[in-house]
């Protein structure tokens, strides 16, 4: 049993209580929503609450359970969904002023799958504007507060889970947002293999890297949710089928003999001392269980953030061109000509970070720069992907910290430093690899750090097994000075 957090019931346990009839779903949903409402003024995790719809869904799912209809183990469990995912008939803002009142006409495949499995979406979680960031700093609705320190920022899905108002959530991960958010709040998150979860209905940031994944306080809950949302979607040409994770065999996963690789640049980087110390302690703990660690060099990792910046901005600039004030969303009211509709809408509608990234993307894709930046970035990406592929012939997993620093303060941020925060997370994004973030330490102020476990394509089961074993030996509960 995971011991990552004791104050929250796991989603699986809650589901079990619904099935046994010990707890009525409606009552639990009501409690969940009032819990959220109570915490919201401080936490600012949610952009929209679906109170009425959640109550209706609770009645529907309870009916299904009573009539013994085929339901998932998580039927009835409340879940939060990142506001970059479309929810049919329910507001979806993508954290942007341009879509402040947008009501989509369809649901994201992942959202639909959760609802088909009987999970109840209680609301939409705060997000960086079109996912451009990790810790809600660029959200139109303002940042989410860190559960341990109100003066610091946090990813909303992770903060909501960490604060105990929900047990699980869906988040999106392009350069590492899901993993950064999980690490910062001391919860678990999995970014699956690129394509394992359909992107249909996820507002695009950088399409070649965007992925949806679960965040939960419990890694097994993450696995259970991943089992629900993964699968090839005929509507997403880049989607792939992955094996479902068999949780009945997870207890037997042994760390003994696990081959762990650590890219040497990950030791050399400019990383917060506490992050460094926690990472080393985690490695010690793994070695003491018989895992074998080894450092190796992977060409291109130094340039990964630069390549990521180029590719993500380029793709975002094209993806966000559709936000033009014509078909939906905000249109600058004073615009009189077509040019004004475009320019005023986009100048007023987008936040300044989004504007910078869009302009950068235009720069990288402009005819005379394309070769120099975009193609070169794709070549670096190729080298990194190749480096990982050959490393995975020697190692089962590759480990690193998740973020080089602790949760930042609510202060003006700059786009470059946001890119640099993604140093450890973008390599897996570029290579389309699955990666989990599990808690591996908490400082005396309650700020958490995470351990990243990267595996080869389609190795979600192995990553979950390793993460679960790591958490079982108490890896996630270390605080400074080694106290538990």
């Amino acid at each position: 049993m995971s011991i990552s957090r004791q104050n929250v019931e796991t989603a699986r346990k809650t589901g079990q209580e619904f099935r046994s009839g010990a707890v009525p779903i409606s009552e639990h949903i009501e409690k969940t929503i009032s819990g959220i409402q109570k915490e919201e003024p401080r936490n600012h995790c949610f952009v929209t609450l679906f109170e009425e719809q959640a109550h209706k869904a609770a009645i529907r799912v309870a009916q299904k359970l009573r009539s013994k209809e085929d339901c998932s183990l998580l039927a009835g469990v409340p879940v939060g969904v990142d506001d970059t995912m479309m929810t049919r008939g329910r507001r979806t803002t993508c954290g942007s002023g341009t879509l402040e009142h947008f009501i989509p006409t369809f649901s994201a495949t992942a959202v639909q799958k959760l609802e088909d499995a009987g999970m109840i979406i209680v609301g939409k979680l705060n997000t960086d504007e079109f996912s451009m960031g990790s810790l809600t700093q660029t959200s139109f609705f303002g940042p989410t507060s860190h559960p341990a320190d109100e003066t610091r920022v946090a990813g909303a899905a992770a903060a909501a889970v960490a604060s105990g108002v929900i047990s699980c959530a869906l988040a999106s991960d392009t350069g590492g947002a899901l993993r950064q958010a999980s690490a910062g709040c001391g919860v678990c998150g999995i970014r699956p293999t690129y394509g394992a979860v359909s992107r249909l209905g996820l507002a695009a940031f950088a399409s070649s890297m965007d992925q949806i994944g679960p965040i939960a306080s419990d890694i097994r809950d993450c696995a259970e949710i991943l089992n629900i949302i993964s699968g090839k979607d005929p509507c997403d040409s880049t989607s792939v089928e992955i094996d479902k994770i068999d949780l009945s065999r997870i207890d037997s996963f042994s760390l003994s003999g696990l081959r762990i690789g650590i890219p040497s640049v990950f030791f050399e980087s400019d990383t917060d001392p506490f992050v460094k110390a926690s990472f080393h302690e985690a490695l010690d703990a793994l070695r003491s269980e018989g895992a074998v660690t080894e450092t190796f060099s992977l060409k291109g990792l130094d340039q990964a953030v630069a390549a990521y910046a180029v590719i993500s901005c380029a793709e975002a600039s094209a993806n966000l061109s559709r936000i033009d004030g014509i078909k939906y969303g905000f249109r600058a009211p004073e615009a009189k000509t077509l040019s004004e509709v475009y320019e005023r809408t986009r100048s007023v509608g987008f936040g300044s970070d989004a504007q910078k990234r869009i302009m950068l993307g235009n720069y990288f894709l402009s005819a005379e720069r394309y070769e120099e930046y975009y193609l070169r970035a794709l070549r670096v990406k190729a080298l990194i992907a190749k480096g990982f592929a050959s490393a995975f012939r020697r190692y089962d997993v590759i480990l690193s910290p998740v973020s080089p620093s602790l949760a930042p303060k609510k202060e003006p941020y700059d786009t470059l430093s946001m890119f640099e925060e993604d140093f450890f997370t973008v390599p897996a994004s570029l290579a389309g690899l699955p990666a989990a973030s599990v808690p591996c330490g908490k400082n005396p102020d309650g700020l958490s750090v995470g351990l990243q476990m990267i595996g080869p394509h389609f190795s979600e089961a192995k990553i979950v097994g390793a993460a679960d074993a790591f958490l079982r030996i108490g890896g996630g509960q270390k605080t400074q000075g080694g106290q538990k």
Partner: protein, 480 residues
């Protein structure tokens, strides 16, 4: 004029006749209510993703094979970005870097000479929507029905030197694509559009002049006029020392002059890059073989066969095979009546006349393909006479009536039994004594008048031979 040479290349956009759009399940049908065929995907809503219509690849490969192209085993889609209200995603999905077909050619006949026109590439892309201007409200209204309808763009080499060559190429291209069934190529509905790249240089010069592009030419006639007009503009500029700029222009057929287009087309930087949402299209040799095997007989082969097998004159064979829609009517009629020459004659005379009178293109014909053959059979079997056959065919052409029903309902069956005709003949002879006596006096021509009167009395249905025989018999009796 004689000192200059016009050099032209043509880009032809052809809408493929698929049932659905290229990347979503919306209908690709033309002519319905505005925005009736629009979904989240083709309206550019957030979170949508494209999935490629299999038939689009098939049609592009068919076209490529018929135009003698190399088919790329690997092709890929790129985004072409620009802001315009007819483009909901603000980028068009196209194929810049790796088009599906390359290096083909098409032979044309112009000015009595055969000429090979090089085809640089054929690529797949999506169409854009349509803007309608609302002058009353001083605004424009956007309709996305055509948005994401699949297109192929066929890019020629700069091999054209005259408007005749351009027109011959477009006609041949149209016929070929129609044969293949990949497009209906209706210029007036916009399913075939040509952009002409034109430059002028002194005869003998190797260097190309400044090139201008004329967009979306809507008919073959206006293309010929546009080429003449734009050539004149270039020559005037060169001779008066003005500088020509490379730009996109719109031909105004009423004013007889081209005008530079604003913003959209002259924004140069399209920020092309591979679309991360679409996987490359990998075409296997086996697939290419299958499609090649399924290609229909193309105009040239068909023409040769018509001359060889049916003994049709070359001119007739050429006209017939110029449109698959004429071919369809001809072949079906020939098949039903077992008389290709007769079928050809009817298409060449009656059908072309009807089309011409109605100002219609062969592709606009709506009648059942069996009808002409049925009419010709009734004619040979003597059930109707030739005049009734023509009249019936005109009705078929006009409103797709069933010819057998039509003849029966209107009582147009030919009357050839002597019992019914004899009394009529007697009445005619009685009523036209003057003509009778003229005939009897040796003026044989007046029998034509009497035949006419008899046919009129028989309401056109009389068997002309029987009428004639009975008239002569009656007249002979009156010789006394």
């Amino acid at each position: 004029m004689a000192n200059f040479e016009t050099v032209m290349g043509i880009e032809v956009h052809v809408e493929l006749s698929t049932k659905s759009k290229i990347f979503c399940g919306c209908s690709a049908r033309f002519g319905d209510e505005a925005n009736a065929h629009v979904c989240e995907g083709c309206a550019g809503m957030p979170g949508t993703l494209p999935t490629l219509n299999r038939r689009v690849v098939e049609y592009a490969v068919r076209a490529g094979l018929a135009l003698n192209c190399e088919i790329s085993r690997f092709s890929r889609f790129d985004r072409k970005s620009y802001f315009y209200p007819d483009l909901p995603a603000s980028y068009q999905v196209t194929q810049l870097y790796h088009p599906i077909c390359k290096n083909g050619h098409l032979d044309i006949v112009a000015d009595g000479k055969t000429k090979r026109i090089g085809i640089n590439r054929i690529h797949i892309e999506e169409d854009a929507g349509k803007l309608v201007h609302d002058d009353w409200d001083d605004c424009s209204l956007v309709d996305y029905n055509r948005c994401s309808v699949p297109l192929i763009e066929i890019v020629s080499e700069p091999d054209f030197r005259s408007a005749d060559e351009v027109v011959a190429y477009l006609e041949k291209l149209k016929a070929t694509l129609q044969y293949l069934g990949v497009s209906d190529c209706k210029m007036q509905e916009g399913s075939m559009r040509a952009d002409i790249n034109l430059s002028v240089r002194p005869v003998g010069s190797e260097k190309f002049g400044v090139r201008t592009e004329m967009k979306n030419m809507a008919s073959l006639k206006s293309i010929a006029r546009a080429i003449a007009g734009e050539t004149r503009r270039h020559i005037d500029a060169i001779e008066s020392g003005e500088t020509l700029i490379q730009e996109t222009r719109r031909w105004d057929d009423n004013k007889g002059f081209s005008f530079a287009m604003r913003n959209k087309e002259n924004a140069k930087d399209y920020k092309y890059f591979p679309d991360p949402n679409l996987m490359p299209v990998i075409v296997e040799e086996e697939y290419i073989r299958e499609i090649r095997a399924s290609l229909p007989e193309l105009p040239e082969e068909k023409k040769a066969r018509y001359i060889r097998e049916f003994g049709l004159p070359e001119y007739d064979a050429d006209i017939l095979t110029g449109s698959r829609y004429l071919v369809a009517v001809f072949e079906r009629a020939a098949d039903i009546c077992k008389n290709p020459k007769e079928a050809s004659n009817w298409v060449m005379t009656e059908l072309l006349k009807l089309l011409n009178d109605a100002q219609m293109q062969p592709e606009d014909m709506k009648f059942s393909p069996d009808s002409l053959g049925t009419i010709l059979n009734m004619l040979t079997e003597g059930k109707i006479n030739r005049a009734v056959a023509k009249k019936t065919f005109a009705e078929v052409f006009e409103s797709d009536v069933d010819p057998v029903d039509y003849v029966r309902k209107n009582g147009l069956m030919q009357v050839s039994d002597t019992g019914s005709i004899e009394p009529v003949i007697r009445e005619v002879l009685d009523a036209n004594r003057k003509a009778v006596s003229e005939y009897l006096a040796g003026n044989e021509k007046s029998i034509q008048f009497l035949i006419g009167q008899s046919m009129k009395a028989l309401r056109g249905k009389g068997d002309p031979q029987v009428v004639r025989d009975l008239l002569i018999k009656g007249l002979d009796e009156r010789k006394g």
